[in-house]
Amino acid sequence: MSQPILLIAIPLGLAFLSIILKKIKVPLLVLGLLFSSMLVFFIEKKSYIIGGFKPPFGINLVVDDYNLYFIIIVNVLFLVLVLANLSAVKPMATVLLVASAGLNGLLLTGDLFNLFVFIEIASIAAFILLTMDKQFLKVFHYIIIGTLASSLYLLGIVILYAQYGTLNMADMSGLIDGGSITPTIAYLLIFAGLAVEVKLLPFNGWVKGVLETASAFTGPLIGSLYAGVMLVVFGRVFGGVLNLSGTMVTSLTIIGVITLLAGEFMAFQSKHLRQVWLNSSIAQSGLAVILFLQGLHHVAVLVIVANIISKFVLYLVSGKIAAVIGHDKIADLKGIFMNKKALGIAFTITSLSLIGLPLFFGFFVKINILIALFQSSNMWIPALVLIAALIESAYVIRLLVTMWQVGEEGEKPETIEKPTFSLKVGFVTCAISIILGLMLLVSGVYPDLVINQSVKAGNVLSVNDEIQVFTMEGGLE
């Protein structure tokens, strides 16, 4: 039996070691990540006490249906990402180990203050990693906003601690359910703190500067893994611990809806590949937040899973394209996939899944979102979600058509000359993209396993027996 604390301790330990043993720090990094990615398959679902003090007095780590699959996805993808960028990560090996520890801590912890610590660890690692892209002013901007966010979060949990005398999530949840006073201001501060990390509008001023120049390494890391983990944390806090009610839910849902729509609007006008994806990530975060706030945890989980995988591929490929071509202006990427079909197909599958076309996993995400929203008698939100999806479809298809086709508008097919240049992207990147794309395709034809798992995950946050989901096997369940 393995201890999940090792997922945090081993990378941290190796991080210190790698400072001393500079020569072998890359092997240490790979070793540490390999160890984590193997370990995740052996951990058991339960609460782990750290340091001998029983919760709520001590800190505990929790492994349950909600975070187990995310732990697996994040650790495996982290390893994959490092392997795909092995040449680039050398100067950052130590920081990457810290980032891995931070992300695992965020997913595992069962304690609100401990969560703050891991937010800080993960953020600091992110700040340093982002300097790889040489956009120092923008990273500095991120540092300021990120620090402000974690301060707000800290302030929020200070108020909660003052009121309830505990920082343990499970304990806090029980006390809040039984309590009579709603500490609105604390909720809001925590929301604001996390909203910066999950990129809700207007809290997300840092995102554009950081992600629009992200490389094939920092892009997937920040845009996919960090974003996914932060959403999981948001769900844990707002779905499982704090129970919002009344106007608060409405107000915060409105922020989510604005984020969703504004994200898609901004993505529609974006002229650069990574700018499109960062805006689309903003929109997807808004969607997940809406679903968490509406208590539809199982579909929120589906959104996060789909988003982690699809954005991973999209940022990876976009980053590589930008590195090879030197820029990522969409208008100049005409027919870029014509001589790199395998990569293009993986990219296409991923983006088609993102816009929720049938045969791809995103379709079941979309259908289940609508089922869940209509079941809770929402009429406006699904309409707005569909409008957002319409805008998303338009720009994604525009993008795909550009990247697959050459020739000016009105030019006849027989006169179009095929491009001769080849997109020089390494085998590893192609293989990763194709495997992840195939996963989206397979789970698009047979999504039942993922969907059933997401129902279990949703039930961890709040038990709901009346959940209906749409799967390939049994239709409605």
Binding site: F203, W404, Q405, K418
Partner: protein
């Protein structure tokens, strides 16, 4: 063979086609011919009572006569058009993908026609849409694909929202159950009818959603335009029939305000359809590109189909279904003949062509027959459907809609004559002197389609009797035929008799023509004008601004495309504005937003 096997088989075939095409483009394109033809064979052998087959997961199909009718129409079009594919393999940028998507879009449409639950219907609808969308940019335009997909997705999402509204009320996706329950929830029902109606309008290309037709049909590869016009837009007709005939629309609307004896909503639909006829006709008249011209004529014809479906009575519904069939066949044949000309000359612009009748007489005949059918002149199938529709309009006393339909019919003479005269007749351009008739395998499917148009124009009874059975299945009184005659409200029509009379007239004229002295054949340039010999053949060609006097009457018409462009521009502007506001490089601004939002939400908490 069951429906499930055919649909799943076609899906599998699309993948096989891709792999085969990678090895040999020709072989792959032959598969695109065999796929639809074999499926058509199964449908014809098994008849409309074809077994639906066991379900695979949620994939469950139910055999209906309506679905069979639509599938067979679609398969005839796909099968005939596919003969052109081998000739286009060299011209396409992604031939393997084209072959795969061709079959995939067919699988999507067939699956959709037999779906028993809404989600499956939606899945296959979307498959058909995105498969066809990826083919369009293989042609002349990249933007057309995006416009097509955005429009189509708008319709699909309206449809999806309606599906979920019904699901929210009745807790099921089963089509017949849910639609049957609609009458118990009138408010929901009206929303569902409107939303599904919008979906049908978008797919059919009814005004104001018609702008994607000329873009997509006009710019798609020449082999795929016939599919779009003859096949895929008919998905909209299928949805429309579902809304009006399967859903209890008239029952839901029975208490609503009535205009001319019809519920106001139905009358509005009729008006929109009438606008489509007029707009489609007027726009078609002024097109120089033959493919865009036929695309606009599809808009006008979609208007007829919607009128027939919306009235939902014995004559109108049978007329609509006959029109669906007749127009699918005729427009596919017309697009194919233009495609054949394009194959030989490389252009579809009327002003760049002329005198093709001398070089491609069979193609010319095919075009002539298909436009006769599209214009609704006996003895073609298009006449039967228009006769039925006019009968129904007359018996309802719908004079304004009738006037629009009449305008559309007269206008169709104008627009179908434009390519006839400019492209096929007139002066042959010297650069086209070397042009030959289309290859035999392109001629065969065109002749088959023309034969179908003629056959069902002369002997429509078999088809009409089957349509009558569909009508009974839909709960409408079936169309009746006596011997070779069709029963209308004010008399009967015997197309066979009409044909014999026409035929005798032709024979008489032919005899007179033969008995007169032979005319001497001269070269095209063996002529003079204004007492001068002209040596430049281009001067004799008057296909440019062909209908200038008519076009001048409405040249300052408002352009609906501008409206959509404006809408897109607003989305872009709003996106830019949001980006400008929220993504400042100054962290202070973000901090300010954070604080303001917290205050705002807190304030909201206080107020409520």
């Amino acid at each position: 063979m069951t429906i499930t096997m055919i649909v799943v088989g076609l899906m599998a075939l699309s993948l096989v086609t891709y792999v085969v095409s990678k090895m040999s483009k020709g072989l792959g394109s032959v598969l695109t011919i065999l796929g639809p033809l074999v499926a058509l064979l199964f449908f014809l052998l098994e008849g409309s009572g074809i077994a639906s087959g066991s379900s695979i997961g949620i994939l469950q199909f139910g055999a209906t006569k309506l679905g069979w009718f639509f599938s067979v129409t679609m398969l005839i079009v796909y099968g005939c058009v596919a003969f052109f594919n081998p000739y286009w393999m060299k011209k396409l940028v992604h031939p393997s993908a084209y072959n795969m998507l061709y079959i995939l879009s067919l699988a999507g449409t067939i699956g959709m026609f037999f779906a028993v639950d809404f989600i499956v219907l939606f899945i296959f609808l979307e498959i058909a849409v995105f498969a066809s969308m990826f083919i369009i940019p293989f042609g002349k335009s990249r933007n057309a694909a995006v416009v097509y997909f955005a429009m189509s997705t708008f319709g699909s999402f309206a449809f999806l929202y309606a599906i979920f509204m019904m699901y929210g009320k009745f807790g099921s996706f089963d089509i017949s159950f849910v639609l049957g329950q609609l009458a118990t929830e009138p408010t929901t029902a009206i929303w569902v009818i409107i939303l599904m109606g919008i979906a049908a309008f978008v797919k059919l290309g009814i005004f104001p959603f018609h702008i994607w037709l000329p873009m997509a049909h006009g710019n798609a590869p020449d082999t795929f335009s016939p599919i779009l016009s003859g096949g895929l837009v008919k998905i909209g007709a299928f949805i429309a029939i579902m809304v009006v005939a399967i859903a209890p629309t008239y029952e839901v609307l029975k208490n609503s305000y009535e205009v001319m004896g019809l519920p106001i909503l139905i009358y509005i639909v009729l008006i929109i359809a009438a606008i489509s006829m007029v707009v489609g006709t007027l726009m078609a008249i002024k097109q120089d590109d033959a493919k865009k011209l036929i695309a606009y004529s599809s808009v006008a014809n979609a208007g007829y189909i919607i009128v027939g479906i919306a009235l939902n009575d014995q004559l109108s519904l049978s007329g609509a279904m006959m029109h669906i069939f007749a127009h699918a066949i005729a427009s596919a044949a017309a697009f194919l003949s233009i495609g054949a000309v394009s194959y030989r000359t490389g252009t579809t612009k009327i002003s760049e062509l002329g005198g093709m009748i001398q070089k491609m007489p069979i193609t010319y005949t095919v075009y002539l027959i298909s436009i006769i059918s599209m214009a609704g002149i006996p003895p073609m199938a298009g006449f039967i459907s228009k006769w039925l529709l006019f009968q129904s309009l007359a018996s309802h006393g719908l004079m304004f809609i009738g006037a629009a339909a009449f305008f559309g019919s007269v206008g169709s003479f104008l627009y179908v004559f434009r390519p006839l005269s400019g492209l096929f007749l007139g002066q042959l351009k010297p650069q086209h002197n070397h042009v030959k008739e289309a290859p035999i395998f392109m001629v065969v499917p065109m002749v088959i389609l023309s034969g179908i148009s003629l056959f069902f124009g002369v002997l429509p009874n078999g088809l009409l009797n089957f349509i009558g059975k569909i009508q009974v299945e839909l709960g409408v009184e079936g169309i009746t035929t006596v011997d070779t005659a069709i029963m209308g409200n004010n008399g009967l029509l015997d197309p066979t008799l009409v044909f014999i009379n026409f035929g005798l007239g032709f024979v008489k004229a032919f005899i007179i023509f033969m008995s007169l002295s032979k005319s001497r054949k001269v070269g095209l340039m063996d002529t003079y004008t204004a007492a001068e010999f002209v040596y430049d053949p281009n001067v004799y060609h008057y296909a440019k601004s062909y209908y200038a006097p008519i076009e001048r009457l409405y040249e300052k018409h408002p352009d609906i495309v501008a409206l959509y462009k404006g809408l897109v521009q607003r989305v872009v502007d709003l996106g830019r504005l949001l980006q400008f506001i929220f993504f400042k490089t100054k962290p202070g601004t973000t901090a300010l937003f954070i604080v303001l939002t917290i205050i705002l939400v807190l304030w909201g908490e206080k107020i409520w």
